[in-house]
């Protein structure tokens, strides 16, 4: 106990270097834990992006690509699927429900999704949680839109407001559907999934936006149809981008998947969401592991910095050691003094690192949630994190042995008096 006090007082005497060392360790610990938390949370929120759906069906391409545009609203479909294909499989005896997805338009950087009422009843995320409306109701009319939580938050939209959708998916849209404004009728509760960043309209509404378009260009002059004129037309869509299927029995999943993949009507691809999520994650997993390894090395750098600081101090502290020897400290006392010093520095670093982590999480939580849909918990360290911290302290102890051995030998040869 007295040795620890001596070690701390001696450190206090060198507090500038000691503080720098502690700070370096704290930053590295904070980085390691932050990476670890973001990793865990990303993986968790990733895996819970979609649930309840047994198959995702789209035009034939890659499974990751299909997953990206249908669920994550990233990238574009290479091709559409015909409406009669959707009808064919929606009516399939093994299919319990089907949700059509039609993508392609956007509003100020957020994707617009054309879908059916089934979406609000059947779409599930996380642990089979259904979508909930925070305000208002699902769309009913042609020109009604239901907003994801983040869209409403970021753009400050309220129920009842009129908004204009844009053609295409770039943030800066050149062509706006300003002749057919939509009314916000509902806002979904936050899910932490891409649903939050989506505007939902009916398939008919999606069709109405483009009903007067020719060759991918908006109609001009007399060919232009007003919103009211569009209502009078047949707005049955001819094609959609993808569909989600729920089956009566999970056992049928593989046989139906094969049936869809071999469908003669048009080339289709059916994927199992869980498998595709795994596949996608294993792609990103490498980067995530690399990040973890990098942060481990940063911790190692912090500890080596500490080792350097202690070793450099040894020579100028020979007198201190000799005085301690002359008042009765044995060489192992001197050695333990240095191990204690290393341990105290690391422990202070870990403590400060934890504090920085929590301050950082508290400060960036809201931002991370709105920007990335990441919900970092302000929870106490879990077992794995404690193990990481324990390993850091153990490494520091181990490193403390190096200067301890040097000081031990030094104090044996220097003896009681030292001529400097």
């Amino acid at each position: 106990m007295y040795l620890l006090r001596l070690a701390l007082t001696s450190l206090n005497n060198r507090r500038f270097t000691a503080l720098l060392t502690v700070f370096a360790i704290a930053l590295s610990v904070c980085l390691l834990l932050a990476v670890e938390r973001i990793r865990t949370e990303t993986r968790a929120s990733f895996a819970s992006t979609i649930s309840g759906s047994d198959l995702i069906v789209g035009a034939r391409s890659g499974s990751v690509n299909l997953l990206l545009y249908s669920v994550f609203r990233i990238g574009n479909a290479t091709n559409n699927i015909r409406w009669d294909s959707f009808e064919h499989f929606a009516a399939h005896p093994r299919v319990k429900w089907a949700i059509p997805l039609s993508l392609g338009d956007s509003h100020r950087g957020y994707r617009v999704l054309g879908t059916s009422a089934a979406y609000f009843e059947r779409y599930q995320y996380g642990r089979n949680q259904a979508l909930q409306l925070a305000q208002g109701k699902p769309f009913n009319d042609l020109f009604e839109v239901v907003l994801g939580a983040e869209v409403a938050d970021a753009l400050h939209y309220k129920v009842g407001q009129q908004i204009v959708l844009a053609h295409g998916v770039s943030t800066v849209s050149l062509v706006k559907h300003d002749d057919k404004p939509f009314t916000v009728v509902g806002i979904l509760a936050r899910t932490g999934t891409p649903v939050d960043r989506t505007l939902h309209i009916s398939l008919a509404g999606m069709e109405a936006l483009h009903v007067d378009w020719q060759n991918g260009m908006p109609a001009r002059g007399a060919a232009k149809l007003s919103a009211e004129q569009a209502r009078a037309l047949d707005l049955q869509p001819r094609a959609i981008t993808a569909m989600l299927l729920g089956l009566n029995s999970k056992i049928a999943t593989f046989s139906l998947q094969r049936e869809i993949n071999e469908f003669r009507g048009e080339p289709l691809l059916a994927i199992l969401p869980g498998v595709a999520l795994q596949e996608l994650w294993s792609l990103m997993g490498t980067a995530e592991k690399a990040l973890f390894v990098v942060s481990l090395f940063v911790v190692l750098t912090g500890l080596i910095g500490m080792l350097t600081a202690i070793l450099t101090s040894l020579n100028e502290r020979r007198r201190e050691m000799a005085i301690l020897r002359s008042v009765g400290a044995r060489p192992w006392h001197i050695g333990s003094l240095l191990v204690l010093e290393a341990f105290s520095l690391a422990a202070a670093g870990v403590g400060l690192g934890l504090a920085l982590l929590y301050i950082g999480i508290a400060a960036s939580r809201g931002w991370l949630r709105t920007q990335y849909g990441l919900d970092l918990p302000l929870a106490a360290p879990n077992l794995y994190e404690w193990q990481l911290l324990g390993a850091i302290l153990a490494a520091a102890l181990l490193m403390g042995v190096i200067p301890a051995l040097r000081a031990y030998r030094q104090s044996l040869s220097d003896g009681l008096s030292i001529r400097l």
């Binding site: 005497n13 009765g328 060489p331």
Partner: protein, 234 residues
């Protein structure tokens, strides 16, 4: 009087070097104050290292309080040293980051025997430190000051208090006055004498300054004691 410290036929050489010390006989009586004249290079530091049990003699015996130092292991020698010997060095004797009081109390943290004796005599270690410092002429308000805030003269008196706390049988002073001016030198030695007498400690005072010798009970020259040193001087 019984011999507190007795050397017999002591020989020591650093590895690979000629013999540095060769002392046929030397004794320090209990309660005695001895001036040992030792110019630098005469093997003085080595002799003090041997007496403190930091180094082990090559041959011969060193008996302190009847215990043969050579028969003890390294750890036991360390313990034995702090239990029975107090040290005062040339200068920079103190740990600068501790307070004056904490510096004086240091030996009590490493030696149970000295802590017990200090407590027994003064009631508590704190009181022992305060009393010693007062006797050595340090004002009580200096007690909680950092040691390096004191003048050299004051620091040496703190070092003396540290050597004396818990009444070790032997106090070894290695050039403690070399950083002091002539007036304070003699005053310091007189204070040291008084305190050694009070604690019942013998004093072995090593210095190159012959002018101090008359103050002591007895005076010896290391060059005369040490046969290994004589040819080089001749």
């Amino acid at each position: 009087m019984t011999a507190l410290l007795e050397l017999h036929d002591l020989g020591f050489a650093w590895p690979g070097q000629a013999e540095l010390l060769d002392i046929p006989h030397f004794a320090l009586q209990s309660g005695e104050s001895l001036f040992l004249k030792g110019p630098s290079g005469s093997g003085k530091t080595t002799l003090l290292g041997l007496l403190g049990g930091v180094q082990k003699a090559g041959r011969g015996s060193i008996r302190l309080l009847g215990t043969e130092l050579g028969s003890l292991g390294a750890g036991a020698r360390d313990r034995f040293r702090v239990d029975h010997t107090g040290y005062i060095f040339q200068q920079f004797n103190l740990l600068p980051f501790l307070s004056v009081r904490e510096n004086v109390e240091l030996p009590c943290h490493f030696s149970k025997a000295r802590a017990t004796r200090a407590r027994h005599r003064h009631g508590s270690i704190d009181l022992a430190a305060a009393t010693l410092l007062e006797h050595l002429g340090l004002k009580p308000e200096l007690l909680e000051r950092r040691a390096d805030a004191l003048s050299i003269g004051q620091q040496q008196r703190v070092a003396a208090a540290r050597a004396l706390i818990g009444q070790p049988e032997l106090v070894i002073a290695d050039e403690p006055t070399s950083a002091l001016d002539a007036d304070s030198r003699e005053a310091f030695i007189r204070l040291l004498f008084a305190e050694c007498r009070e604690a019942g400690s013998s004093l072995l005072f090593v210095s190159h300054d012959q002018s101090l010798a008359p103050l002591f009970d007895r005076s010896l020259s290391l060059a005369e004691l040490n046969r290994a040193a004589q040819p080089q001087e001749a």
